[in-house]
Amino acid sequence: MPRTNRSLVLTAALAFCLGGPVAAQISDGVVKVGVLTDMTGAYSDLAGPGSVIAAQMAAEDFGGKVLGKPIVVISSDHQNKPDIASTTARRWFDEQQVDVIADLVTSSTALAVMPVAAEKKRITLLSGPGSTPIVGEKCTAYNVHYTYNTYAMAAGTGRAVVQQGGKTWFFITADYVFGKSLEGDTSKVVEAAGGKVLGDVKAPFPTTDFSSYLLQAQGSGAQIIGLANAGADTINAIKQANEFGLTKKQSLAGLLVFLSDIHSLGLATAKGMYLTTAFYWDRDDASRAWSKRFFERHKKMPTMVQAGVYSELMHYFAAVKAAGTDDADKVMAKMREMPVNDFFAKNGRIGADGLNRHDMFLVQVKSPEESKYPWDYYRIVKTIPAAEAFQPPDTSCPLVKK
């Protein structure tokens, strides 16, 4: 990128002219990114090693340097445990000069690291987690919730499905906080759009055999069966719904489904399902070009979480460059000021609460016959504009009231 380099030299020269203190604006002489993610557990396919690769690509694509100082990417496995996540974050901040932590898949780990980062005035860029309290009562001034949240997923799918005629719903819900909030968010949207919730069943987490719950869903006579769960639970529920012939008369709506889930299910099983996503690799030329480069390194197409890690870091580097410093307050201000418009997200704006509100996409899973080449999985049904996709700023976040 010759242009970047030239402007870099220019900035460096300018900084030099302005005198000593400005040249030292990058703390410790390095911009250090820590990717803290689930490397081996339940979310390692949708985030994990792919997120680390995305972060490395971002560092390389930015030229390996910001304001003349090298970018270094390190990573660690938080094993989805909040205590491990917060201890690692503390060590990174105190001993290893980490400036920014990216990904933090699993909301509990994000919520554990955010206060540590805020206390040390370092930035967290969340791509993997989905809980809404992250930008609500638990919000911090040094956090960006970049890729998606459960509201955006649930609202997008819920509203669109009702508009397509799916008026009556039954939920199969994972029996813990995440599942219940997913169901709650979706129910509200469904009812607001004129739909009706006929009932629900709370399945223990995790569950491998859903036949019993599917039978109850079938008995409800609802047109749409909402799956308020994630990961392996969703995969098994979809697989068994097919087996029990549910999909002949009723349709499934996955409320939190990733590309990696569809890949492992196969199109024959997942076909026809509606879902909402922040990113699809095959959406346009820019997303295809980036995703193909990613594929060469990871051997899998990127999920929205992995693409989000790349995009959020590019945005961060650009903000550091624009601010002329890696001082967290100034960089956060720049990140909020600059719109996000790249291969990943269109019309993105980071609010005072830290939420990146951008366009989302309602997609339908293709059938094996429609799929023309490997990873050709989604048909984009519609673009959900940013204002509609995400909830308005939550006043329970103290930063919003100001």
């Binding site: 081996t40 709370k202 491998t208 008995g219 995969i235």
Partner: protein, 288 residues
């Protein structure tokens, strides 16, 4: 109401068949070798994965997989018994438990590293696709097949061990291996084959489960705890006990899923606690 209930009971019976098949293997290994085989879940996972690999890489279909997979995984079990497990006979069963637990962790770790966490889909074989409507529920043909096969395999195994000469040797070997060896029976070989058979049963169950559940590296660890509870309730080492308890607990679980779903993952352990209070040796176990 009655209709919904019969649907749930039927589903309970289907799940019970899986429990019965898995706990049978565990019970045979414990009853005859006195080894608590914690690797049983990993061996079940291996069965599903070997079937999936056969289909994906070599084009080996379901029916051949049903035959070949238990052989392959069973041989792996025999090799493990010969090389490692054998050295722990006669020691406290805790050593065997630790060794097999370690094996499970290693095998699951390797598969997780190689295949990721989301796993892979295994299709239902063409001949068993579809199903019939019973009025109160839609019954997939494959699930009927699971129940029938597991009943045949379970009671077949029970018959061989409890009612034939071979079974008599096996039981005698547990009671007094030295005496049996003195009578000219190759006891070490018999032990290897017994462990191999237990492992093959786990792998067989894995193949049976592959078209229903996602084939993932951790599919075994999620089911193994329940299966251990089944074996404990049935009476450690009692073969008939583990079969009947497996089926029975499937039914109890099915009922709970209908009456109060949030309790369905603990009901097995509640039953276990109650049974142990009243009969410390389990329902079909003998006091030692």
């Amino acid at each position: 109401m009655i209709q919904v209930l019969s649907g749930q009971l039927l589903i309970g019976l289907i799940n019970g068949s899986f429990y019965a098949l898995l706990s049978l293997g565990l019970a045979i290994i414990f009853g005859l070798l006195n080894v608590v085989n914690f690797a049983h879940g990993a061996q079940y996972m291996l069965g599903a994965f070997v079937a999936w690999m056969g289909l994906t890489y070599c084009g080996v279909g379901y029916w051949w997989a049903l035959l070949l997979t238990p052989l392959v995984v069973g041989l792996f079990g025999i090799a493990f018994e010969r090389l490692c497990l054998r050295r722990l006979y006669g020691l406290d069963p805790l050593y065997g438990l630790l060794l097999t637990f370690g094996l499970a962790l290693v095998v699951e770790g390797i598969f997780q590293n190689a295949f990721g966490i989301s796993g892979n889909s295994y299709p239902v074989p063409a001949a068993l696709q579809g199903g019939t409507s019973l009025g109160f529920m839609y019954l997939p043909r494959y699930r009927v097949w699971v129940v029938l096969v597991s009943l045949v395999v379970c009671f077949g195994s029970w018959f061989v061990i409890e009612r034939t000469r071979l079974g008599a040797y096996l039981r005698a070997g547990t009671e007094n291996p030295i005496l049996l060896q003195g009578l000219g029976v190759n006891v070490p070989l018999m032990f290897s084959l017994t462990y191999g058979y237990g492992v093959a049963l786990a792998a067989f169950t894995g193949v049976m489960a592959a078209p229903i559940y996602q084939v993932t590296p951790l599919m075994g660890s999620s089911v193994i705890i329940v299966v251990f509870a089944v074996v404990v309730i049935g009476g450690m080492g009692s073969i008939l006990g583990s079969i009947l308890t497996g089926l029975g607990l499937g039914l109890v679980e099915g009922l709970t899923k209908f009456l109060y779903p949030p309790a369905s993952d603990v009901v097995v352990f509640v039953v276990m606690a109650l049974v142990l209070l009243v009969r410390p040796a389990g329902l079909f176990g003998r006091q030692r």
